[in-house]
Assembly symmetry: D2
Homo-oligomer: 161 residues x 4
């Protein structure tokens, strides 16, 4: 199966489905194409690349249509990719019956990503407890391996009632 993005709310996994599996299985289902992926990824030109316990990688290439008024890549693209990989890294540590939500994230841009250059956005969750999860992330060039941005996030983990 190939990865695909939900086009309507009906394409999404139901909440019952979501709560019936661990976060790691949910992420693996998305990678295999058994479950639909995030609609925003299709809009912003990135796909899921790797899923491991505590570590998730997305792969993407920015296009001109994501640029700012000066024609260079908008900061929102960096943030979207980092939020995705960091939140999904936390997700891989969320137990069955729980779900999570992003409380905050921060983005540091160290180099401007050229339009058309492929990058890897890697999130690593350093800690996930009963009620919160924390992750860090980085964006590196897929070919040059250089660091383009770093990020950090705090997620809240909640047990369904």
């Amino acid at each position: 199966m190939a990865q695909y993005a939900a086009k309507t709310p009906q394409d999404l996994p139901t909440q019952a489905q979501l709560l019936s599996m661990s976060g790691l299985d949910f992420m693996r289902g998305m990678l295999s194409g058994a479950l639909s992926g995030p609609p925003i990824a299709a809009e912003l030109g990135y796909t899921l690349d790797t899923v491991e316990e505590g570590r998730v990688v997305f792969r993407g290439t920015p296009e001109f249509r994501f640029s700012n008024p000066m024609g260079s890549l908008h900061g929102g693209w960096y943030g979207t990719l980092l939020d995705s990989c960091m939140a999904c890294a936390v997700m891989t540590l969320v137990p069955q019956g729980s779900y999570y939500t992003t409380l905050e994230y921060k983005v540091n841009i160290t180099r401007v990503i050229p339009i058309g250059m492929e990058i890897l956005a890697t999130g690593v969750s350093l800690h996930a407890g009963r009620s919160t999860g924390v992750a860090t992330g980085e964006i590196r060039g897929a070919e040059d391996g250089k660091l383009y941005a770093t990020g950090s996030t705090t997620c809240m983990i909640m047990a369904a009632r």
Copy 2:
């Protein structure tokens, strides 16, 4: 004239144009439609609403296609709107002959924005010196006035040589 987004690099203001006017005039040109706006705004469903010295407002409505794997609005949309309004607020304070770039931004999500609900993202620059500018931002519902997210940013301001 109406606002519009650049579709190709040729639609963008040239660097010479950019450096020939103050940041405030640049932002006003975008608002009036004399200059093209950020391509990413057209992609992510938001437009420029207000430009004042030190304060910029964008208006937008999230759609389902910007949601995360659980079907709620992706954190990247909050960050994109906040980065836009905060960086543009700094831009209104940048003198002629200088330009700026975002070094970092942070997003705190306080409430989930429902898909389809119109919001206002307001950036206020509290300080812009010779080499750096700082701004804060918030997203409020256009109708309910409630606070959905807050942000902060640091930009670097550079004189062209």
Copy 3:
């Protein structure tokens, strides 16, 4: 009564005392001197100035002994003052029977505070729900009114069991 800082754990309010009153009453008790204040405030040269629902001000003056290796005020002093006023602003919204803990905070330094200059650090809580609270903060000169630093924080609010 005058404000004072706990010198030993025995000077602190007990957990039962803490949970028997609202966060606002707890903060007012500290302001009046009925309850001991934070030990770190005495160490780092600041005191509680104002307590309102959702807003707390600390007043302080940095000394040479809080400087960095170059002799200017260390970034940790800005962060300590901002964390204090922002977390206490959240505290004023925490209901009786609950307590809170800081998950993260961020500090933007806009100007260097001169050693010996009195400042006011003001925290405002923009949102406090059942499980999380968010606040922003700023440090301004007590006399010049200029902005020296801004901050933001996320706290977790928990009901005692």
Copy 4:
């Protein structure tokens, strides 16, 4: 020679001294005791442990006098240690004739550090260019190796004129 903290501005290296050596040599001078260390470190109970190119470690033990009104370690202590190790990691990459200042830092607290427990705060600079430097940091227990906090920072690097 042993490390020591400046007690008065006269104990500090002069600006001429500071600019005559690379940031790495400056940090090594502090480690060896040839140059005085940050006054705040002596106040808040931590010392320099390791200096490498792009990596600096501080070692410290929180005391009761650094606690918050509830008697647990104040968030400002985490931030001070992280700001120190991250800014110093950037410092090791600053060339002779330049200096730097912290623009912003962020702290995520993942576990509460018990009063009296020794920790290591490690800063790593992932990028330092002509005008800005970025670093990340973490605090781990010296014995248990567990992660207690993470941080990130942006510094501005300036050439002396």
